[in-house]
Symmetry: C2
């Protein structure tokens, strides 16, 4: 049995703007230097990826990506310093959350449900790419 945890950030009005989907997009941009390539890796339409990033930037109040002009394929995107910082912090945060969810599971379900491990070692694409 496995635990799957998703933590998302919402505005006070209840609109999700950051979570597993945007996080994976940022990871992909860091790896590929291209939002288009990052979206493709996730099987996501570029227009959707673009919207997710813009939506997150608006709610956060800082830019996550900046355009790189020229180079192979005529330019791409790179993470801003704030984007890198968010990527780093969220990565550590989700790991901590996964580990604590596993510990709390033991406390709450031990003797009632089988042992379960959280997904926190996961690196492959998850099945939920929405924010």
């Amino acid at each position: 049995m496995k635990l799957r945890l998703a933590v998302s950030f919402q505005t006070d009005e209840g609109e999700r703007f950051f979570g597993e989907g945007p996080y994976r997009l940022l990871l992909g941009v860091e790896q590929t230097q291209s939002l288009r390539a990052a979206a493709q890796q996730m099987g996501m339409a570029y227009t959707k990826a673009f919207r997710i990033i813009k939506n997150a930037e608006t709610a956060l109040g800082f830019p996550l990506l900046e355009r790189v002009v020229g180079g192979k394929g005529g330019g791409g995107s790179t993470l801003t310093p704030e984007g890198k910082e968010l990527l780093k912090r969220y990565g550590a945060y989700r790991l901590s959350c996964d580990q604590m969810a596993e510990r709390l599971y033991q406390e709450h379900f031990s003797g009632f449900l089988p042992a379960a491990s959280s997904d926190y070692r996961r690196e492959g694409p998850g099945e939920d790419h929405s924010a």
Copy 2:
């Protein structure tokens, strides 16, 4: 800013079988003594609710609901003892997870993102009714 946490249980094969949706259905059955009424409260088709419960029962290996014959409207459903136990334990578990996520958020994002509170006092219907 708000945090929204979702913890779901998956089989080893990665199929979700319990989480916020099934939990809310069980809560609804406890309140209304009817799966149909519980589904209706959540704006969910009865067939979907039925499938969610059967799927959870199969994965868990014990029944969650039992039929009540007769009475107003010609019978309904009630929670089995295991169903009640699961409801109680999962309710306490999600509360602990929400509180922990809020504490960890402070640790990881303090000074970088605005303070955020988790949704753990939520009682109204959430927007995500899937497992």
